[in-house]
């Protein structure tokens, strides 16, 4: 694909240069030289080679704030993704965090299967309802010091599914989200093929996700399937009829992750569920459509500026004792900042909070 084609397919030429995107972009706030508007402009003028070789393209968080304010419907996320794909062909790979270990793991997933039996709880491998675990098992190993407790997220999800009459089969694997957003389409296609094969072999009719990134990838980037896809918050909102009373000693706040919020438009379901279990949420200044990003995405480009984005978000949550997030990666990134900064805050995953309340 040439850059002209990318401009065509992502409607970049609709840009009216209002610069709303640059004024709202969380990266521009900390990184003066990065700006979505000037990016689009430079591309339209014809600085193609310069763009493909610049490191700026890896700074975008794909949080989608720019798209939500764009008056002329420029698909900036698609544009960025295609440009990254092209830059990769030119040898511009960006700086991967954590030594690129997650890309290597994704590559290894295409060849080897991940060992089963990592999750506790009632599991039926013949069931046609599946729970897609994603890369949770690796988080516990790689971020051992941060005490992410990813196993608790998976266990809680299975516990909640069991409670509402679903005994799921478990699918281990990588959805390919990070490969896709870092422009590695070849790897993404391989992972997708493998996942689709597993789904076909198991005869899956419904998949439940606890990770918004996997959910987004299956829903929006995979070819259309005859399978019902659901996030755990949607499942609970649908199946939870009773309301549970609990002690409310702590103040809670909710962080909308980009993928579940702006990409998929799920804002109210997790809030409804939290209301049912008697968790009162005191919203942050930026919430729902305007929620701020956790600062890093697709394991790319994490530096002291990303730290600043995270600190801005945590500063907003200062009134609360517990920050609830739906995305395990947000949990990792916030916990990383908490490990060396003084905040009196606890980061918990949405399913963990729900599973704690429901006995």
């Amino acid at each position: 694909m040439t850059l002209e084609k990318i401009i065509d397919s992502s409607q970049v030429f609709y840009c009216v240069e209002c610069r709303k995107c640059s004024s709202i972009c969380p990266v521009t706030r900390v990184y003066g030289e990065f700006s979505p508007a000037s990016f689009v402009e430079r591309c339209l003028i014809g600085f193609h080679d310069e763009i493909l070789h610049s490191m700026d393209i890896w700074k975008c968080l794909e949080c989608g704030l720019c798209e939500s304010v764009c008056p002329s419907g420029v698909k900036f996320l698609d544009f960025m993704r295609e440009i990254r794909n092209m830059a990769r062909e030119k040898g511009n790979f960006g700086i991967a965090t954590h030594e690129g270990v997650f890309e290597s793991i994704a590559k290894l997933t295409t060849k080897n299967d991940i060992k089963e039996g990592w999750i506790d709880g009632e599991i039926d491998e013949t069931s046609n309802i599946a729970y897609f675990v994603g890369c949770l098992p690796f988080f516990d190993i790689i971020f051992k010091e941060l005490e992410i407790n990813a196993k608790n997220i998976a266990d809680s999800t299975v516990k909640l599914l069991n409670k509402y009459g679903v005994i799921p089969s478990i699918i281990y694997g990588c959805c390919g989200h990070d490969a896709l957003w870092t422009g590695n389409k070849e790897l993404f296609n391989k992972l997708m093929e493998k996942n689709l094969e597993i789904l076909k072999k198991k005869g899956i009719e419904k998949i439940i996700f606890s990770c918004p990134e996997c959910y987004r990838t299956f829903k929006m980037d995979y070819p259309e399937m005859d399978i019902e896809l659901m996030h755990i918050s949607e499942f609970l909102d649908k199946n939870m009829k009773e309301s549970v009373k609990g002690e409310n000693e702590k103040t809670y706040t909710f962080h909308d992750s980009c993928r579940l919020g702006r990409h998929l438009g799920i804002y109210e379901e997790p809030r409804n569920v939290l209301k049912k279990i008697d968790v009162e949420i005191k919203e942050m200044e930026h919430n729902r459509e305007m929620a701020l990003c956790c600062g890093t995405s697709s394991w790319m480009n994490c530096d002291w500026k990303s730290e600043e984005i995270r600190e801005k978000r945590l500063e907003e949550a200062k009134h609360a004792d517990v920050l609830i997030t739906t995305c395990p990666k947000c949990k990792i990134h916030f916990k990383c900042t908490l490990s060396h900064k003084n905040y009196n805050l606890e980061i918990k995953d949405f399913v963990e909070v729900v599973a704690e309340r429901i006995k």
């Binding site: 490191m55 700086i95 991967a96 965090t97 954590h98 030594e99 690129g100 270990v101 890309e103 290597s104 793991i105 590559k107 290894l108 997933t109 060849k111 080897n112 299967d113 991940i114 060992k115 990592w118 098992p137 690796f138 190993i141 790689i142 971020f143 051992k144 010091e145 941060l146 480009n301 994490c302 530096d303 002291w304 990383c336 490990s339 060396h340």
Partner: protein, 156 residues
């Protein structure tokens, strides 16, 4: 510790802001506003090209220093003492020094069907971490999840 590996530090007072290091490495950037050089600690692999290029010796490798976060948490950053161990790779195997184990590259080598050998530092008495350090353990655990146990070997 992986998540906050800080192999190189900069003394901004000694730095003359010549920005040779910035031109050499993507992990180093120059903040014009405050006239400071920054190192992207998460991405830096500690290759040392910036250290050797610095004319005013403002960039230095960090050896054997422990950062204490809290009572129970300690960070051990980069632990290489430049013993001169040669990184080796051929069609069959890839050899890392235990203090310079690159998990991304190691797992990719396993993907390509190579064996990973982790060897101890030549100047072993100068470093404080044991050969079976955190990173090697993490590597093993990741490969165990894939059911691969025979591909990584730790040697004295």
């Amino acid at each position: 510790m992986l998540f906050k590996q800080i192999p190189v530090e900069i003394d901004n007072d000694a730095c003359s802001k010549c920005r040779i290091c910035v031109s050499l490495c993507e992990c180093i950037s120059y903040d014009e506003e405050n006239n400071l050089i920054f190192i992207n600690a998460i991405s830096c692999k500690g290759c040392g090209i910036c250290v050797s290029s610095c004319p005013s010796n403002a960039l230095q490798h960090i050896f054997d220093r422990v950062f204490v976060l809290s009572e129970s948490k300690e960070i051990k950053p980069f632990d290489c003492v430049n013993c001169g161990y040669e990184f080796f790779e051929d069609k069959e195997k890839i050899i890392f020094c235990s203090r310079r184990l690159d998990m991304g590259k190691a797992i990719e080598s396993v993907f390509k069907g190579k064996r990973v050998v982790v060897k101890d530092c030549l100047l072993v008495e100068k470093t404080t971490t044991k050969i079976d350090n955190e990173k090697t353990k993490k590597m093993k655990e990741i490969l165990e999840l894939f059911g691969i146990e025979d591909k990584i070997k730790v040697e004295k």
